[in-house]
C-alpha cells in the first residue's frame, strides 16, 4: 500500500516544482515591470534549489530519513548507523551557497532598478524602450548638427 502511494506523492511534488519553474519563467518574460521580474526571478531560483535538494532525498520504509547531522557521538558506530538512514548532504551544502549568492544578485538588481527609475522615471520595460529610442534620435541629430 505505502509502496504505491509514496512514489505517487513524491511525483506530485516533483511535477509541482517544474510547474512553478514554468510559471516563474512566464513571469520573467511576459510581465513588463522590473519589480515583477525580480519577484519572479526569486521564485525561479527557489524552485531550482528545491529540485536540487529533492534529488538528495531518499525513502526509508517505516520511518522518515534522518537529517545529515551526527547526533550520537558516544558510540563509535554512530556515524555508520547514520549513513544507513540519512539523506544526501552534498546538495544541501551546494544549495546553502546558492541561496546566499541569489540574495546578493537580487540586491544588485534592486539597486539597478532604483537607478533606472531615477534616471528615466519609469520601470515598465515597454515605456523604457520608447524613451530610449527618442533619446537616441535626439542625440544623433545633435551630433549631426
Amino acid at each position: 500500500m505505502n509502496e504505491l502511494i509514496i512514489p505517487y506523492l513524491l511525483t506530485v511534488v516533483f511535477v509541482s516544482f517544474v510547474i512553478n519553474l514554468v510559471i516563474a519563467l512566464y513571469g520573467i518574460f511576459a510581465r513588463p515591470t522590473l519589480v515583477k521580474k525580480i519577484i519572479a526571478l526569486t521564485i525561479f531560483s527557489d524552485s531550482l534549489n528545491s529540485l536540487a535538494i529533492f534529488v538528495g532525498y531518499r525513502v526509508v520504509s517505516g520511518r522518515v530519513p534522518a537529517p545529515p547531522v551526527v547526533v550520537n557521538y558516544t558510540s563509535p558506530q554512530g556515524p555508520a548507523q547514520l549513513a544507513k538512514v540519512a539523506v544526501d548532504p552534498l546538495p544541501q551544502a551546494l544549495v546553502l551557497t546558492a541561496i546566499v549568492i541569489g540574495l546578493a544578485v537580487t540586491l544588485f538588481m534592486v539597486k539597478v532598478t532604483m537607478q533606472v527609475h531615477r534616471v528615466y522615471g519609469t520601470t515598465s520595460v515597454r515605456k523604457l524602450e520608447r524613451i530610449e529610442y527618442v533619446n537616441k534620435e535626439e542625440k544623433s541629430e545633435g551630433v549631426v548638427e
Binding site: 506523492l9 519572479a40 532525498y57
Partner: protein
C-alpha cells in the same frame, strides 16, 4: 505510517505553493504580490523541513520571508506601486 504522513504533507505544501506562485505572477498590485511571494516562501520552508534539511531551512527562512520582502517593499516605495 510516518513516512506516508511526511509525503502527504509535502504534496499539500507543493500544491499550495503552485497556487501562490500563480497569484504572485499575475497580481497587478505589487504589495500584494510580495505577500503572495512570502506565503510561497513559507510553503517552500515546510517542504525543506520535510525533505530533512534543517540548515537549508535556517538559511532560507530569513532570506525568503525576511529580507526579500523587506528590500522589495523598499523598492516599491521608491518606484511604481502598480504593474502596467
Amino acid at each position: 505510517m510516518i513516512d506516508l504522513i511526511a509525503a502527504l504533507l509535502m504534496a499539500v505544501a507543493a500544491v499550495t505553493s503552485i497556487v501562490f506562485t500563480y497569484l504572485a505572477v499575475v497580481e497587478k498590485n505589487l504589495v500584494q504580490a510580495v505577500v503572495f511571494s512570502a506565503v510561497q516562501s513559507t510553503m517552500y520552508a515546510l517542504i525543506y523541513f520535510l525533505l530533512m534539511a534543517p540548515d537549508i531551512v535556517l538559511v532560507y527562512l530569513p532570506v525568503g520571508v525576511g529580507i526579500y520582502p523587506a528590500i522589495v517593499l523598499l523598492l516599491i516605495k521608491k518606484t511604481d506601486k502598480v504593474d502596467e
